[in-house]
Amino acid sequence: MSKKSYRDAIREAIAGEMRRDHRVIVMGEDNAGGAGTPGEKDAWGGVLGVTKGLQPEFGADRVLDTPITESAFIGAAAGAAATGLRPIAELMFVDFMGVCFDQIFNQAAKFRYMFGGKAVTPLVIRTMYGAGFRAASQHSQCLYPLFTHIPGLKVVLPSSPYDAKGLLIQAIRDDDPVIFFEHKLMYDEAAEVPDESYTIPFGEANVTREGRDATIVAFGRMVNLANQAADELKRQGVGVTVIDPRTTSPLDTETILDSVAETGRLVVVDESHPRCSMASDIARLVAEEAFSDLKAPIKTVTAPHTPVPFSPALEDIYVPTPAKIRDAVFAVREGRA
């Protein structure tokens, strides 16, 4: 057990699984870096350093730099997975999904079903998401609702270094295509993480705070903001339960519904845009399956229906904040629409 960053926890998960299973390989743009150049090999180890050190340990046959060619290498990762390897491919920014989404949602996701149960596609795609980096509209989106929508994909959003390592090991060992979302603002966040390998099952939410006055369901980095809001609310005498589903597909509906049965009040925090988001998905779930448990309308805290703005003044308004979450809890407590 030691203090590890989200970044290091992810790297440890990958390295541990590569030592354990020869079939696990890594590929992505600059995942090592320096391919064909006169300078250093492993020059970057990933654009934010997550995969640094892997190529020196495992070799260039196993940690592959790619040309900038997502449709080919994400498709190759799908084909390699269907033919016996266990690739961890990196989609550097989830915003780039546009150039390779077919390979993910029409190919990898559907092989098993279309081929009558005979395909096994143990593909992991790691990808960065989220705003706050001032990276603007094409490098800051969330987009996990789009992947959640697709039958055949599993979608994972770790909110902490501990969860990142356990969920990624689970993802690598999972025999279905898994999209693993890493919030780019969280890489330096550090916490106690076991040194040994461990797994966290998919479809099992983590409850980070317990309280009877309201339920907050939050995703990814928003879990940390919800925790901050919960701590402040506690000082004001309001107790909230914070649920981190960890995976949007599969989704732990039971924990959410059980909590709403207890509190009767729901706030959903989702950094996505509001339409067809996880916020709307959870609201549908509770409104349809636990309507009589609700004492107030559901409140969602999301980004607006705009692209991510560049200027820090605007981006800071775009992203949900603990204050907005706190205000949403007050609203559901008062039953205000």
Binding site: D61, A72, G79, A82, L85
Partner: protein, 321 residues
Amino acid sequence: MQHSRQFLLESYRSMATIRRFEDRVHDEFAGGKIPGFVHLYAGEEASAVGVCSQLDSRDAIASTHRGHGHCIAKGCDVPAMMKEIYGRRDGLCGGKGGSMHIADLAKGMLGANGIVGGGPPLVCGAALTAKYLKTGGVAVAFVGDGGSNQGTTLESYNLAKVWQLPVIFVVEDNGYAESTASAWSVGGSQLGRAAGFGMPGAEVDGFDFFAVYDVARDAIERARNGDGPSLIHARLSRYYGHFEGDAMTYRAPGETAKLREEKDSLKIFRKQVTSAGLLEHKEIDAVEAEVSKLIDEAVAAAEAAAPPSEADLATDVYVTY
């Protein structure tokens, strides 16, 4: 090169099976028996068999939406294929895929694909697996002239070259991408594009089994030796439309009838082997009779087979969920 009698008969059998299968599916589709879309490969047999007759269990292929021919050539079960096309529960894909997604991963057939250009990246992946696990296997991406323009195909040429993958790209140029001519839609040339990506390329008469065999042999050997990808540009023709129901008004009057007369891979093969004294007509006729029986039985079995039930709808979306 010298081929054994057995190899010649098996190759003819494979081509004839494709032809009779497709002609029969055409008839049954016209009779309203087959749901959805079908895209028939009749006319192109020499390409599929010229290549696949040299592949073994280490090797993988990916096809296009026009996948029945490649599926048969790779050794997939013909009655199971017919059941799949009819949407039956014990079809090759459990009735879940149909004609456009017909596949058998156990036979190295990574599937027909409903997305034009869907195959080449997958083939790069299969080739990567073969290279990494040192199986000695190769992977073949069949693409049409239409698919040759898709970004995924061109990116796959580049990736296969940069990673030195054991891939063979076979561009089956039947002259038409849906309703437009390949002469119009392909900028530059197939061989020019291969050269542009640093790959050896060869153009071949796609009606001539032996010509296809020879260029494919070189490409396969190159791949197995670790010398990277190659491209084969096979010029051929499809007798039927892009899809069944296509009136083919974009083709010249009498074009397909003329093709069946003058450009028939089965007739060409028969003439080549009999005039060289390699096989006798009666041996080839015997194969035709067996193929005819196989297709008749496959259709009868498909018609009689049960469809999937509601209990099958939600199975096999995931391994576990």
